[in-house]
């Protein structure tokens, strides 16, 4: 299971990830990524893994990590 993890010590609410993965991430009142599931680190379904990797590369602060394995 692949999960999307936000390194909160790096994230500054830039929002690229929320635009690339709107199925998984909303934005909170202050623009920070908010998991739509009840899990803080949401599971990334197989069909979104490519987009998730793109989001990881798109984050200017390298705040996104994909954890786990398929």
């Amino acid at each position: 299971m692949i999960r999307l993890h936000v390194d909160w010590t790096r994230c500054d609410g830039h929002g690229a990830c929320t635009e690339l993965l709107p199925e998984l991430l909303a934005r909170d009142d202050w623009g920070f990524p908010l998991s739509r599931s009840d899990q803080v680190d949401p599971v990334v379904p197989a069909d979104l893994i490519t987009l998730a990797r793109r989001a990881q590369q798109a984050c200017p602060l390298l705040a996104l990590r994909l954890t786990g394995s398929r």
Binding site: H5, W8, T9, D12, G13, D28, D29, F32, V40
Partner: protein
């Protein structure tokens, strides 16, 4: 096995007995972990994590850090322990040090700790323990923030994916253990796991230290630190501290990340299982009694505001969410607040829970949730007008 034991200093082989102990046993890593596992010791710093599991998880040749930062404002137990029994804390560090072949032994002492006695003890026994006096606020004792500080960096927490037991002080696996937990270890190594389990409850054995205080002198005439068996009734602790129950409204248990018990729940045993129904836990051992004459919402809003100010300032949900939540609670604690503020507090709680690099947002949310639940009738009174009480001493 009594469950209502408050142990007076000098009785039995316990933390505050002030005994002269014999030589510290040398145990192998395996023997130490087995002993601690059988004893059922859990951390006495706040999180209550099983100590044996923590020791097993840390990598080879770790750095061991004794945590006496005592960032919890209402807690005084670690300061007391280092004043009256510093040798026990050093014993615990040295026990772990030899069993795990530790590279370094560090005792991190917060600015409220008098390090004179422990430094004298270090010199007397030519201990390898390094005593570091470090400044810091509420989050000073947070595990990864403390490790970052010892590494000479800013005392802010690290991302959870980089746990200190993998990479900590000097980039080495690091075991961070609360001072009281170390002292308990020192006694368990002398007297054994069965001795430790001879007081307390079956699932929450041993003793722990509680710091008893009140929002007024009248509600807690005799504040101080007690060593009690797990499972001791809160009522017995309050009786020892001279609390007139009719003058109290509620008791904050654990710390500022803990939960309120209404005074009607005073016959609750202070153990993990006894406190769990109230969303509370022994935590850092704080027992803070709220005077009935004080508005509980205003007091809670002040705590939430303090906690917001103690944010490390690096994570968006915390930096933004906690002040908004505290401000909403403050407005709810005023006279005839807008009813929508109730839902807004709950919404903001949901926004901060589980987010951020450490448990500060979670703990603050827990405190706020407890406030809204335990003082629900008080919230009602405010919505209809006000409660007629003042929050804070003038």
């Amino acid at each position: 096995m009594s469950v209502t034991e408050i142990l007076a200093p000098g009785t039995g082989h316990r933390l505050l007995a002030g005994e002269q102990l014999g030589a510290l046993p040398r145990l192998s890593g395996e023997d130490l972990v087995d002993m601690v596992e059988r004893a059922g010791l859990t951390g006495r710093g706040g999180a209550g994590f099983p100590t044996a599991r923590k020791i097993r998880a840390v990598g080879r040749r770790p750095v061991v850090v004794g945590n006496a930062m005592e960032g919890e404002h209402l807690s005084h137990k670690d300061a007391l322990l280092l004043r009256v029994a510093p040798g026990l804390v050093l014993d615990g560090l040295e026990l772990l040090g030899s069993a795990l072949r530790a590279r370094r032994l560090v005792l991190a002492a917060g600015h409220r700790i008098d390090t004179g006695p422990v430094c004298a003890a270090v010199a007397l026994r030519r201990s390898a323990v390094e005593v570091h006096e470090l400044r810091g606020g509420f989050l000073a004792g947070q595990e990864s923030a403390l490790v970052n500080r010892i590494n000479g960096r800013a005392a802010v927490p690290s991302d959870r994916l980089r746990p200190v037991w993998q990479s900590g002080v000097d980039g080495r696996p690091t075991l961070v253990v609360n001072a009281e937990t170390l002292a308990q270890l020192a006694l368990i190594s002398r007297y054994g796991a069965d001795w430790f389990r001879s007081v307390g409850t079956a699932s929450d054995p041993g003793t722990f230290m509680v710091s008893v205080s009140g929002s007024s002198h009248q509600v807690v005439p005799r504040p101080g630190v007690l060593e009690i068996a797990r499972g001791t009734m809160l009522a017995d602790v309050l009786a020892r501290s001279g609390t007139p129950l009719h003058g109290a409204r509620a008791v904050l248990v654990g710390g500022y990340h803990g939960a309120w018990l209404p005074i009607s729940a005073v016959h609750t045993p202070m153990s993990r299982e006894g406190l769990a129904p109230y969303g509370a836990a022994p935590g850092a051992g704080v027992v803070h009694v709220l005077d009935r004459r004080r508005c509980p919402l205003q007091v809670s809003a002040a705590v939430a505001t303090y906690l917001a100010g103690e944010s490390a300032g690096q994570c968006g949900p915390c930096v933004n969410g906690l002040p908004r939540m505290a401000d909403t609670l403050t407005r709810l604690s005023a006279s005839r607040p807008a009813p929508r503020l109730l839902a807004e507090v709950a919404r903001l709680r949901g926004l901060v829970e589980g987010r951020g690099a450490c448990s500060h947002p979670d703990g603050t949310a827990r405190f706020v949730a407890s406030t809204m639940a335990v003082f629900a009738d008080h919230v009602e009174a405010h919505l209809l007008g006000d409660c007629g009480l003042e929050g804070l001493p003038s």
